[in-house]
């Protein structure tokens, strides 16, 4: 059984006990424990089930590479699935639940999958997706749906806060082990701005566990001294619990800081995502130990040798009483020594190497530990927990020579550098034959904006696995980086003394000649259940590219992203293909290094500030008067103002009828307003608009169209001549920023010698449309300026005051009624609106929303950008030829409109439509034509673009585009309706209301 030892545990505080629950069972740990350590201390080795076969899964590792110990953390709004127990810090009240099983961890019905294992071979999904179809629907899918998914999806919104933060530094160091600390010291001595980030809560990495000496003292003392020194330096920022997730173009780095996972409810943000720009990046990210592939290596109790050592040394926890060590290298002997020093039994060390000669084995031997060389684990015995190992020759086929009883198997297949940060942005790797791993190739690094090396691996991440080498390498690399920045280092480099290690020997399959039965029990990917036999099958079935084999088998595609399985898997693949490992290559390393919570990525963008919401100065009034708001870009505009039990449709109809009978108010503040001024402003606007604006008299308004260079309509609005050299261009609500940018683009990049300035003053003004036969009466009640027909005629404007407020009033109409649009400083917008409402009470004034505006403009046959246009419509299609100057030699879009296909007679052109039965044509309906097209669909001859019930006329009205346009007047055509019907409509003039303009021009 696994348990807490009486002594030891450098990271725990035995005076501070912590209570927590696992699957509702109350357990105790200590401050400083990880959840995994505390679970082991409570003899909870079984922590989950695998993804595919629901095999029992125990804790394998002690850090970020853990594939198995994934748990559901917390409850309710604090619930988070798939948290790694090995990196979860214990806190009082922690509630953890194991996942991927039903009904219980110990008794899982899904384990029956295991019996069907032979029906779930590599490429299962590929094969079942192909054939037979019926089997997929009735057999596989229901079966997979039951077992699919890892962990549970939260049911409540995340109750925690998250945020982003930006940071800048010259040198970023990822990893706070001894290599990272050494690199930080060197980098900091140059005066450069240094950021040192460590994913764990504690600093120093593995050196203290391994018992290295630095500068003649235990590593721990040196680490403490370095942290103190760095902490005093102004140019150094250090953050622990901050995982560097990825490196990107131009020195961009994302890091996930875990602030409050271990202190829930303390009011701090849970995580903070750091968005860092680093001049250079030093990846001192260490190395990960590899498992060995032997039969039964997934049984709970089989663990990485380094993890077994970590639990003893760091947490005073023994994974079991009797540990058999199996290794191909010397480093793993440190585990046997540590266990023996802690008073635990190590009945046997199985070393796959034929010769075992190093200092560490000698030390183990001297402690009385039995070592058997050239041997292999043939298979691990046990079900939910290891009960022993069967041993044979590594060079053999699996004949059992001996069996040993144990409850833990500590395995080590050698170490792989964590090359992720070097690789994320294009750094290439080389194969190191001696250490049997890929490491960064400093000759082919990722490069930055200057073409210079951007990421530098240091220490174990660079293949310098042992403490002394790692320290020296980090010093050298950091000095180089400082030199590249044109700076100088100061001070002496620390030196480490470690127990020397003899060479390792690669072992990819154990024993080397294992038969099919054994190979089908050798796990490579513990989480996704990928075995040696699966990779070999993939190779036989032709998936010889490492990227294909990965996807075919799902090797390395689990939440651990193959930290333990990738190298072993591709070594097996290379064996199956009979090619050297470097020729097979690796899969691509992609960020993040370990999963980053979605909440951290979202940062502040949630709830009220999920996205910017633009409000007009009268927004609060609309809300207070029950307006139904619709999004228009980022604005929220009042769609209608329902009263009492009114439906939206009823409200819209009331607003229209009232505006046509009395007077209505529309908040038009969102319209774009751009001032264009200068000696060349007229000439510029003549280029921008299809019609002529330069000859617009001062004091007058003119409707204008803008097209893109292809000739298609892009925006429209009323242009006002403010003075001799300045114009005010109104744009659509959505067009304000875009058209201002468009103007600046042409002025800056094409006609930069023209003297024109623009200013986007959209938000300076609130704008209110006062429309209806009583509009003038209403303004006269406010008092101030003369708004008579004579002083302020249709399409004119004037400046003055209304109700004491300085205003500019335009006689323009989008409703077809007598209409004034009043611009007032935004800070006075609400005041003017309220005065209009108050003064208009006895005139029947009512606010109207955007839908009433839309219907009224359709009744008048006015086009709307985005309804009648879709980016493929030219003004001529909309019978707007009158707004296109024939005189101008050039304007934006003129050449595009001259393309021959735009003059074809079969183009869809604008007309009005009235259904014969008075009904409303459905939105999006097509006008059907004779015959079918090549796809068997009905041919079309047009489509509806705007369609409404007109309360003014008491019937459906529509605008649409039809072949022949206004030449088709009187024709009766058919629009399709859902699901399979049609509705007949007559082609009519699109101006349905007040064709002579008598209402607006009074």
């Amino acid at each position: 059984m696994s348990t807490r030892l009486q002594k030891g545990g450098r990271l725990i505080d035995r005076s501070s006990a912590v209570e927590f629950t696992f699957n509702s069972k109350r357990m105790r740990g200590f401050q400083g424990d990880t959840l995994a350590a505390a679970l082991l201390a409570n003899d909870q080795m079984l922590v989950g089930r695998s993804f595919k076969y629901h095999r029992p899964r125990g804790i394998v590792a002690s850090g970020a590479e853990e594939p198995n110990a994934l748990i559901n953390m917390g409850t309710g709004a604090q619930f988070a699935p798939n948290q790694r127990a090995t990196t979860t810090e214990l806190f009082a009240g922690l509630t953890a639940r194991s996942q991927n099983h039903w009904p219980s961890l110990e008794m899982d019905i899904g384990v029956v999958n295991g019996l069907f294992a032979r029906f779930l071979p590599a490429g299962f999904y590929y094969k079942t997706f192909i054939h037979p179809r019926a089997a997929w629907k009735h057999v596989f899918e229901p079966f997979i749906r039951q077992s699919a998914g890892l962990g549970q999806a939260p049911t409540e919104a995340d109750g925690d806060r998250y945020e982003h933060a930006y940071a800048f530094c010259d040198i970023l160091i990822a990893g706070g082990g001894i290599a990272g600390l050494q690199a930080a010291l060197v980098a900091a001595s140059s005066g450069a701005r240094v950021m040192l980030l460590e994913q764990n809560a504690h600093w120093g990495g593995r050196a203290p566990v391994d018992g290295d000496l630095i500068n003649g003292k235990p590593a721990e003392e040196w680490i403490k001294a370095v942290l103190e020194a760095l902490g005093k330096m102004e140019n150094v920022t250090m953050r622990s619990r901050c995982m560097v997730a990825g490196s990107y173009d131009h020195g961009y780095v994302l890091a996930d800081e875990n602030i409050a996972d271990h202190t829930p409810g303390d009011g701090r943000p849970k995580h903070r995502l750091w968005r860092i720009r680093a001049g250079r990046i030093i990846a001192a990210t260490g190395a990960l130990e590899r498992p060995l592939a032997f039969a039964g290596n997934d049984i709970p109790g089989v663990m990485l040798a380094s993890a077994v050592r970590d639990y003893v040394v760091n947490y005073g926890v023994s994974a079991g009483d009797r540990t058999v060590l199996v290794t191909n290298n010397d480093d793993a002997y440190r585990t046997a020594i540590a266990l023996r020093e802690a008073g635990l039994e190590v009945p046997l060390i199985i070393d796959a190497r034929a010769e075992v000669t190093g200092d560490l084995p000698a030390k183990a031997r001297a402690m009385g530990i039995r070592i058997t060389s050239g041997r292999a684990v043939v298979k691990v015995k046990g079900g939910a927990r290891v009960s022993g190992v069967a041993i044979g020759l590594q060079a053999g086929e699996g004949a059992v020579l001996e069996e040993v009883v144990c409850d833990v198997v500590a395995m080590s297949g050698g170490w792989s550098p964590v090359v992720h940060l070097f690789s994320h942005c294009g750094g290439k790797l080389i194969w190191d034959d001696a250490q049997a791993h890929f490491r960064p190739d400093s000759a082919r690094p990722p490069t930055n904006q200057d073409g210079a090396s951007m990421v530098f691996a240091a220490g174990a991440a660079n293949g310098a696995l042992q403490g002394d080498a790692a320290l020296a390498d980090a010093g050298r690399v950091a000095s180089n980086v400082v030199g590249e920045l044109g700076l100088k280092t100061r001070g002496k480099l620390a030196k480490a003394v470690v127990c020397s290690e003899a060479a390792m020997e690669p072992v990819w399959v154990m024993p080397q000649g294992a038969n099919t039965v054994l190979r089908a029990k050798m796990w490579l990917d513990f989480q996704n259940d990928v075995k040696v036999s699966d990779v070999q099958l993939a190779a036989r079935e032709g998936y010889t590219s490492v990227e294909h084999a990965k996807r075919y088998t799902t090797l390395g595609m689990a939440t651990d992203q193959g930290k333990l399985s990738n190298i072993n898997g591709l070594a097996v693949l290379s064996g199956a293909l009979n090619e050297p490992i470097p020729a097979v290559g690796t899969t691509t390393f992609r960020p993040p290094y370990t999963p980053v919570p979605l909440g951290a990525l979202a940062g502040e963008s949630r709830g009220e500030i999920f996205q910017p919401l633009r409000r007009t100065p009268m927004h609060a009034w609309h809300e207070a008067h029950a307006a139904y708001l619709e999004p228009v870009g980022l604005w929220r505009r009042a769609y209608c103002y329902p009263r009492g039990p009114e439906t939206h449709e009823q409200a819209v109809h009331r607003e229209i009828l009232n505006t046509r009978a009395n007077v209505g108010l529309l908040d038009a503040s969102t319209l774009g307003k751009i001032v264009v001024k200068g000696p060349d402003a007229g000439r510029f606007l003549d280029m921008l608009y299809t019609n002529v604006m330069s000859n617009l008299p001062v004091g007058k308004c003119r409707y204008g169209l803008m097209c893109n260079e292809q000739g298609f309509l892009s925006d429209d609005g009323v242009v006002v001549r403010l003075s001799e050299d300045s114009w005010l261009c109104h744009t659509t609500t959505g067009g304000a920023e875009r058209i201002h940018g468009w103007m600046e683009d042409w002025l800056q990049c094409e006609w930069w010698d023209w003297q024109v300035y623009t200013a986007n003053v959209t938000e300076q003004y609130a704008q209110i449309a006062v429309a209806g036969p009583k509009a003038r009466q209403l303004l006269e009640k406010l008092g101030g300026m003369d708004v008579s027909k004579e002083s302020l005629p249709f399409m004119g404007f004037a400046e003055g005051t209304l109700a004491g407020l300085p205003v500019r009033v335009y006689r323009i109409s989008f409703s077809g009624e007598l209409s004034y649009e009043i611009a007032v400083a935004a800070s006075q917008g609400l005041a003017l609106w309220e005065k209009l409402i108050a003064a208009g009470a006895d005139l029947g004034v009512q606010p109207y929303g955007t839908e009433a505006m839309h219907v009224m403009r359709a009744e008048k046959g006015f086009i709307m950008m985005g309804d009648e246009t879709d980016g493929t419509v030219i003004p001529q299609d909309l019978n707007l030829g009158w707004a296109i100057s024939k005189k101008k030699a050039d304007y934006l879009g003129k050449r595009g409109q001259e393309r021959t296909y735009l003059a074809r007679p079969d183009r869809f052109k604008l007309a009005g439509f009235e259904t014969l039965d008075g009904s409303v044509i459905p939105d999006g309906a097509y006008i059907i034509a004779e015959g079918v097209n090549a796809n068997g669909q009905r041919n079309t001859q047009g489509r509806v673009t705007s369609t409404y019930h007109s309360p003014t006329l008491g019937r459906g009205i529509a605008m649409g585009l039809i072949v022949g346009g206004m030449d088709r007047l009187g024709d009766v055509v058919e629009f399709n309706t859902l699901p399979n019907g049609t509705v007949k409509a007559r082609v009519v003039d699109p101006v349905f209301y007040d064709k002579e303009g008598e209402m607006q021009n009074v």
Binding site: Q449, D450, G451, G741, E744, D745, D890, R895
Partner: protein
């Protein structure tokens, strides 16, 4: 995520402060142009793997358009310069030639 230095205000702008504007140094063809010229102006865009000239606007900064010479494969930036020029400045051409001897040149 790129960093480009705005040649107008000197800010080393983050990509999120910029708006892209596609290929630089296009010559506008207006009403009297041939169909071929107009087609090339409207639609024929270069998409090289390697040296490329492009337009960027310092949209969240000074609002100015500028031009950048950049390697689309390595993302190395050879330089940024104001938009009011017909072709890249000589020193940027020289810098690119020094760094990319195989480059066939701007034209």
């Amino acid at each position: 995520m790129l960093i480009l230095e705005c040649p107008y205000c000197g800010v080393k702008a983050d990509e999120t402060e910029l708006a892209p504007g596609y290929e630089a140094h296009l010559k506008r063809f207006g009403p009297s142009s041939s169909p071929e010229e107009f087609e090339a102006y409207m639609f024929a865009r270069k998409n090289p793997k390697g040296v490329h000239f492009e337009r960027w606007r310092h949209a969240y900064g000074c609002g100015k358009w500028f031009l950048a010479a950049r390697d689309t494969a390595t993302l190395e930036v050879f330089g940024t310069y104001p938009a009011q020029v017909g072709e890249p400045p000589a020193e940027i051409i020289a810098k690119i030639k020094a760094k990319r001897p195989d480059w066939k040149g701007f034209k």
